[in-house]
């Protein structure tokens, strides 16, 4: 058992905490490396790694953030696994690394006790061929079913541009694990579904209208972007592909990547660049939250809210276009700073726009919070208990709605957030309403941040001189994306290339926890519960195909929305 968060850590300084940790795991550690100023790596034996991770998770405000596998056979003939744990109150990331010889890739599984490890372990099994003893989920995570068993695409001897053997030959159908064991009807929700960001498949097991169990299968769109970057791009080309990881919060990825490389190269970016990054990050947050508010209103059958919210969003997109040259993929970042300055009339224009939008948004806000139907549909729905939230390591608005006071902007200050004044809204109800309110409040804070940052924009250059990035070093970059903490682990290799780039988007931490939120609620609530974690909703317009079978009936997506709206009407809209 893991005793999550039993040891107080708030108020303890970073050095003090490191000393405590050294004491805790003394004797288990073989080597300690200080990679960057807030990223420390401990090397431990592989039979100890699970114990060490569990021990660290006893501290308050820790999360298992990433498990990054790596093929280090080129350097030292081993594979490695790095469990990166975030210490949110000390601005610290600790990596627990273990080396595993290639002929025997067995590691103990952590997923039963720490749910955050669940997806990471399955991913590492797919991509590197690690075997996790005790992992009770035999399904693949990122690779498709037909992928041959012993081919692991992220090993370095698999070239980035090699296609897999003809997949049509060995096509295998997806086998849900619980379907035979459970006595309930099945509602398939996705893979193509309006509320899904990527094609994602939720198998809802229902008794009557109540969901009793849930199974997830996703990653139909998995592209292996990280491999392309490792294979052929140079440091300054990756920000552009990083930006294309997500259609909504792409800039956070570009920022996180650049920060990781900057921390490795000890590059201090100019103040003006820091402020400009902050402005763009907050513009993106407003844009993303407004998008989410619109979609949530639409799902609840309140299309006026949807229209209103997207109307305001259009203005912020236009502002982004004026400041960066593009509505969405800003293309602003390079390692060492930003590429476009905010000058003269653009600055004035930004202030005009912000004043206008704030007034519009206040109107929308008042309209939404005074709407009883939204409150009724969302209150006490999709509750994620606090202990589950900790075990799943949820981040962002989902965590803040569950009473966990974590926000990367405050806890691990990056860009210019340290010098700006803002509030982090926290609610403790942990239902859909709380998640909605967190986002609604955050938009106001974002307006404040942008205005402050533009007001105080320091003078100076916007791009630092970047010397050589040291090869064979590692670092983490982190950004509070609209959906939560976005972590990039970067390890540099030879010839100006990254050797390993691991992207952990916030939805990767949040989506597994949807399972816990859905159980016990009605099918008609499923869309809004799933949407409440704000999985990137990028491909909305193209999703029309939904087939859901329940007691021999087939629901189309429109019927499901209709069902959801009928409940709204029954409540007296």
């Amino acid at each position: 058992m893991v005793n999550f968060w039993v040891r107080r850590s708030e108020g303890i300084e970073r050095e003090e905490l490191l000393r405590l940790i050294d004491q805790d795991i003394a004797g288990l550690v073989k080597e300690k490396r200080v990679a960057t100023k807030n990223f420390v790596v401990y090397v431990v034996d592989r039979d100890k790694v699970v114990d060490v991770v569990k021990k660290l998770l006893e501290y308050e405000y820790t999360r298992l953030s990433v498990i990054a596998g790596n093929d280090e056979r080129f350097f030292r003939r081993d594979f490695s696994l790095t469990y990166i744990i975030a210490f949110d109150k000390q601005d610290l990331y600790i990596g627990i690394r273990t080396y595993v010889p290639p002929h025997d890739l067995k590691v103990k599984s952590l997923a039963k006790e720490v749910r955050a490890a669940w997806w990471h372990e399955r991913e590492n099994r797919d991509l590197y061929g690690f075997e996790f003893e005790g992992l009770d989920d035999p399904r693949k995570l990122v690779l498709p079913e037909y992928w041959p068993e012993n081919v692991h695409p992220w090993r370095k001897d698999y070239p980035y541009n090699k296609p897999v053997a003809d997949w049509r030959e060995g096509q295998v159908d997806y086998k849900p694990i619980k379907e035979d064991k459970i006595d309930a009807d099945v509602v398939a929700f996705g893979p193509y579904h309006l509320v899904n960001d990527e094609p994602i498949h939720w198998r809802l097991y229902v008794k009557g209208e109540v969901i009793v169990d849930v199974e997830h299968r996703g990653f139909h769109n998995w592209r292996g972007i990280e491999k392309i970057a490792e294979g052929r791009l140079t440091y300054n080309q990756i920000p552009f592909i990083a930006e294309r990881i997500c259609g909504i919060c792409g800039y956070t990825h570009a920022c996180a990547y650049c920060q990781a490389v900057e921390s490795i190269g000890r590059i201090d970016i100019p103040d003006r660049a820091k402020y400009i990054r902050t402005v763009m990050l907050e513009i993106e947050r407003i844009e993303s939250h407004l998008l989410w508010i619109g979609i949530a209103c639409h799902i609840l059958g309140f299309d006026t809210g949807f229209m209103h919210s997207w109307k305001i969003r259009e203005h912020i997109m236009h502002l982004a276009e004026v400041l960066t040259g593009n509505r969405k993929t800003y293309g602003m970042n390079l390692v060492g700073g930003v590429r476009r300055d905010i000058l003269g009339d653009r600055l004035r224009k930004a202030f005009d726009y912000l004043r206008f939008m704030r007034a519009e948004y206040r109107e929308l806000y008042n309209m939404l919070i005074s709407n009883t139907i939204i409150a009724k549909r969302t209150r006490d729905v999709g509750i994620l208990p606090r202990d589950k939230a900790i075990s799943y390591g949820v981040v962002g608005p989902v965590a803040r709605a569950a009473g966990l006071r974590i926000d990367v902007r405050k806890d691990h200050p990056y860009a210019a957030y340290k010098e700006l004044d803002f509030r982090v809204p926290v609610y403790s109800e942990s239902d859909v309403l709380a998640r909605t309110l967190v986002r609604l409040d955050e938009v106001f804070e974002s307006f404040d941040i942008i205005e402050q940052a533009l007001d105080r924009l320091p003078r100076g250059p916007i791009l630092a001189d970047v010397g050589e990035i040291p090869p064979n070093s590692e670092g983490v970059g982190y950004v509070e994306a609209p959906r939560g903490e976005d972590v990039h682990y970067v390890r540099t290799g030879l010839y100006n290339k990254v050797q390993r780039w691991r992207v952990r988007a916030p939805s990767y931490a949040n989506v597994p926890s949807v399972k816990e939120m859905l159980i016990g609620y009605r099918i008609a609530d499923a869309p809004i519960i799933y949407a409440s974690v704000d999985p990137c909703l990028a491909c909305t317009e193209r999703c029309i195909v939904v087939k859901a079978v329940d007691n021999g009936r087939t629901y189309s997506w429109n019927q499901l929305v209709e069902l959801s709206r009928k409940i709204s009407r029954r409540m007296g809209l």
Binding site: F240, H315, L323, G325, N326, G331, R339
Partner: protein, 178 residues
């Protein structure tokens, strides 16, 4: 009508029936000015998605710089790295077309011919001119020495380097003039 000034009630436009000019900051279609491009290939190496490629056809004696908008992500890196300012991101965004070939711009540049053997080299004439102007500031001996190498193809360069006294820089220059 434009969306330059936010309006409380008017939020939709009659585009495409009426033109809707984008803000001047928009990063649109990159265009290479064929009169300025020297074919150095800096943009080719900087372009993240390989939208710009270069090809050398020794038999025809040409170098082709090709930009394909189907791959372009409109990042503007090419604009930043071009030493001649030949490439520029325009304001055009309406790129939809039924014909894929409309999305390609070619710049064809003649290759420099070796002054000794007359065979085409791997670099363009304009590149040579550019380097010749660049070395104007160097001290005269150094300039002469470089000039003798610049105008030769790889094989001739190698053979001259092994026999340095055979042909002086000034003699090569005389040959060019002739």
């Amino acid at each position: 009508m434009s969306y330059e000034i936010p309006h409380r009630w008017i939020v939709t436009f009659r585009y495409p029936l009426e033109p809707l000019p984008p803000p001047k900051e928009l990063r649109g279609r990159p265009i290479i000015d064929p009169n300025l491009c020297i074919g150095c290939g800096a943009c080719v190496r900087a372009c993240p998605p390989n939208a710009i490629t270069e090809e050398i056809d020794i038999s025809k004696g040409i170098k082709v710089v090709k930009i394909f908008y189907g791959r372009c992500i409109f990042c503007g890196r090419c604009w930043e790295v071009c030493p001649e300012g030949a490439i520029r991101l325009s304001n055009e965004f309406e790129l939809a077309t039924p014909n894929k070939d409309d999305l390609i711009q070619y710049v064809v540049l003649p290759l420099h011919k070796c002054v000794n053997c007359g065979k085409p080299t791997e670099f363009t004439e304009r590149q040579v001119v550019r380097v010749l102007t660049m070395i104007q500031e160097l001290p005269i001996e150094r300039r002469e020495e470089l000039r003798s190498k610049i105008l030769l193809c790889r094989e001739c360069k190698a053979s001259f380097l092994s026999k340095p006294m055979e042909l002086r820089g000034s003699e090569v220059y005389e040959k060019v003039k002739a």
